[in-house]
């Protein structure tokens, strides 16, 4: 926390120094209405750092339309409703675009205000509702929709691995995990047939034990080829620990909610674990520009990015800056029109497409990482072919 604060202060100081008084244009402000404290803080921290790095690089190259970018911070204290207060505050200070937390429930309260005030909202939320349908035409997510990740896991398991029987273990606590497992099952049944789903079960992230769920799997007459676990830390890693302790060594597949290795100590010698995320932080991503980004991140903050979420924060401002340049204006209508014209726009996170109807990614490739013997490494980049958003 202290280090984060210091990093932010330092980058703000750097921003301040970069603005020479002789520059003609006034600085342009962007808002960060994020969780700087509370339980959501570790999830937002790397997005914030990524976004700050993008802004620093843009400013170093002379800024946007001649203006240096200045960040106005607001701490939502991990309380979603405070996001609305934050949006009002940073818009009052002149923010032209606002970064919101990477979750629909956390980001939406502020994004609604931004939409009403003609300000662009940027987020890493993986819910298609963070866009035209749920918020309005000024809300953009940089992520692959949960439905895209579920389809990706199904196609990868079926086509790349040749697996034919799956088991779905759903953490029924948040909407991301429900969409992830729901879309996996749908795509998996299309590919492999209804019978290829050996079973489904649910638990809650806070459940003290998943014994009964584990026993249901160990009691199957034929072991599934792999298990899809839709969950997040700490309940998800704890479930893996309990599965492994019961002798279930099958491959486990999951999406971005279990990105990062900060929890890996929960399962000693974590093996046969596969996760889809936005890029390998281990220097072995198939995309060289991803490796380059994480190297710059480490140089800037003196530590590795603990999840791939930082590249989302970075790419959001990269996208916004490109759109502003293209539009020649900070006006939300013009910037939004420029964003909507993105077709496989090369961003750090990968080729990104927006349309006037859809402000989230469906078929952009994701990196699949594996952990074997407690060591993480990239398997490759894969894109889903067929994604059902509902």
């Amino acid at each position: 926390m202290k280090r984060l604060g210091k990093a932010i202060t330092m980058s703000l100081a750097a921003l301040g120094c970069a603005i020479a008084p002789s520059h003609a244009a006034d600085p342009v402000k962007v808002g960060f209405v994020m969780s700087y404290s509370g339980w959501f803080q570790p999830i937002d921290a790397s997005s914030i750092n990524g976004a700050l790095l993008a802004i620093k690089e843009i400013n170093a190259k002379g800024g946007l339309l001649g203006s240096q970018i200045e960040v106005v911070k607001f701490d939502n204290k991990s309380e979603p409703p405070l996001g609305a207060d934050g949006a009002v505050e940073v818009i009052g200070k002149g923010a032209k675009a606002i970064l919101f937390p990477s979750d629909f429930d956390f980001g939406a309260p502020g994004a609604f205000i931004a939409q009403q005030s003609n300000v662009v909202s940027l987020s890493g939320a993986s819910d298609p509702k963070f866009g035209v349908t749920g918020i309005g035409p000024y809300a953009y997510s940089i992520s692959n929709a949960a439905q895209s990740q579920g389809a990706l896991l199904a196609e990868w398991a079926y086509k790349e691995k040749g697996w034919r029987s799956s088991y779905v273990l759903l953490d029924n606590t948040i909407s991301f995990t429900k969409s992830l497992c729901g879309s996996f099952s749908k795509r998996w049944k299309e590919l492999a047939g209804d019978a290829a789903l050996a079973g489904e079960d649910t638990f809650l992230n806070g459940d003290p034990s998943v014994s009964a769920q584990v026993t249901r799997i160990t009691s199957l007459s034929a072991k599934p080829d792999f298990v899809v676990l839709c969950s997040y830390a700490p309940g998800g890693p704890s479930a893996i620990r309990q599965l492994r302790a019961a002798g279930i060594d099958q491959p486990i597949l999951t999406g971005e909610s279990m990105d990062g290795d900060y929890w890996a100590g929960t399962v000693p010698n974590l093996s046969n674990f596969f996760v889809a995320n936005y890029g390998s932080t281990y220097g072995d991503d198939p995309d060289a520009s991803v490796n380059d980004f994480f190297k710059r991140y480490e140089a800037e903050y003196g530590q590795k990015s603990d999840t791939s979420y930082s590249i989302r924060g970075y790419s959001l401002f990269q996208a916004w800056a490109k759109a502003v340049d293209k539009a020649g204006s900070f006006d939300a209508d013009k910037v939004s029109a420029a964003l909507d014209s993105f077709t496989k726009e090369p961003l750090a996170i990968g080729p990104t497409t927006y349309t006037p109807q859809l402000h989230i990614q469906t078929t952009r490739p994701m990196t699949i990482l594996q952990s074997q013997g407690g060591k993480f490494s990239a398997v490759g980049k894969f894109a889903p072919e067929t994604v059902h958003l509902d």
């Binding site: 806070g206 034990s209 026993t215 704890s238 309990q242 929890w263 890996a264 929960t266 000693p268």
Partner: protein, 294 residues
């Protein structure tokens, strides 16, 4: 087909943890009518101690965890609850919420909200074959530890001087004070014991879940509260039975509910709880002193 023996082992190991937690809560309630929500933080702090001492030998880490939980329990009693002794039970309840929230936020402030991984009993993360059954070694140890502690606690309450004093205080606090039982000592021992039980739960629970975070203890204590109420607030035997009961019912519901109803497992559990309380408002084993006298 799920083996019934497997379900039984699941149910008893989960129920045992609930029972130990419910006992820790029940001990305090029986001597001072305090529903101590801060019991969750005793569990949490003990688990953080296991994390902090994860480089040391297992025995050292466990002893430090126990010492920390006992000291914290005594400190909360001395600082937060003793000045309120004799206050309305609602006041006590609110103050225990305050202590609980304070400690939780303090932990977020000190160590952050991100879960920390720990593996306090690495030797137990494997399976043991019993006949055709594959059973996790940790589950077996959990069952043995829970049953041993229950027996030890029963022996303490039945056959020691302090045990007798505690039972007397539980039955009629004023009368036992008049007869020479020292209130401060009895209550301090009750808090110390609840700290010890919390630490044991922390070790077993952390070994099962493999992480600790600031709300670690809340997960289990919330359910243990339900167990205490079902068993009969103020009755220690009832608390233990209530703990096992909730554990067994949860596992059975998860194992036998049809897939489409499983997400609503908690709803079924609480319908059963409500049904029990409708027929036995004081719980299955009402504390004698809490019965209304005619």
């Amino acid at each position: 087909m799920i083996d019934p023996a497997q379900i039984l082992i699941d149910a008893v190991s989960v129920g045992g943890l609930y029972a130990l937690t419910a006992l820790g809560i029940g001990l305090i309630f029986s001597v001072m009518r305090l529903a101590n929500f801060a019991h969750a933080e005793l569990v949490t702090v003990a688990a953080y101690m296991l994390f902090a001492f994860s480089g040391s030998p297992v025995a050292v880490a466990i002893l430090v965890a126990i010492a920390a939980a006992v000291l914290l329990a005594l400190a909360t009693e001395r600082i937060a609850f003793r000045p309120l002794r004799g206050a309305d039970s609602a006041t006590l309840l609110i103050s225990s919420f305050a202590v609980s929230m304070f400690l939780q936020k303090l932990l977020v402030f000190l160590v952050g909200s991100r879960p920390k991984a720990l593996d306090p009993l690495p030797a137990l993360s494997r399976t043991v074959s019993i006949g055709s059954l594959q059973v996790s070694a940790l589950k077996l140890v959990t069952i043995v530890v829970c049953l041993t502690l229950l027996a030890a606690l029963t022996a303490f309450l039945k056959w020691t001087r302090f045990g007798l004093q505690m039972r007397a205080s539980a039955e009629n606090f004023t009368m036992s004070r008049l007869l020479g039982v020292r209130a401060n000592a009895v209550i301090a021992i009750a808090f110390g014991l609840s700290g010890l039980l919390a630490a044991v739960v922390a070790v077993l629970f952390a070994a099962q879940s493999g992480f600790v975070q600031p709300r670690f203890g809340v997960q289990i204590v919330i359910i243990a509260f339900v167990a205490t109420v079902i068993g009969g607030l103020g009755n220690l035997f009832g608390a233990a039975v209530g703990g096992f009961f909730v554990g067994v019912v949860t596992i059975l519901l998860q194992a036998f509910l049809p897939a489409e109803l499983r997400p609503f497992r908690e709803a079924f559990l609480f319908v059963i709880v409500i049904a029990i309380l409708l027929f036995r408002p004081q719980g299955l084993f009402p504390a004698r002193n809490l019965k209304e006298r005619v």
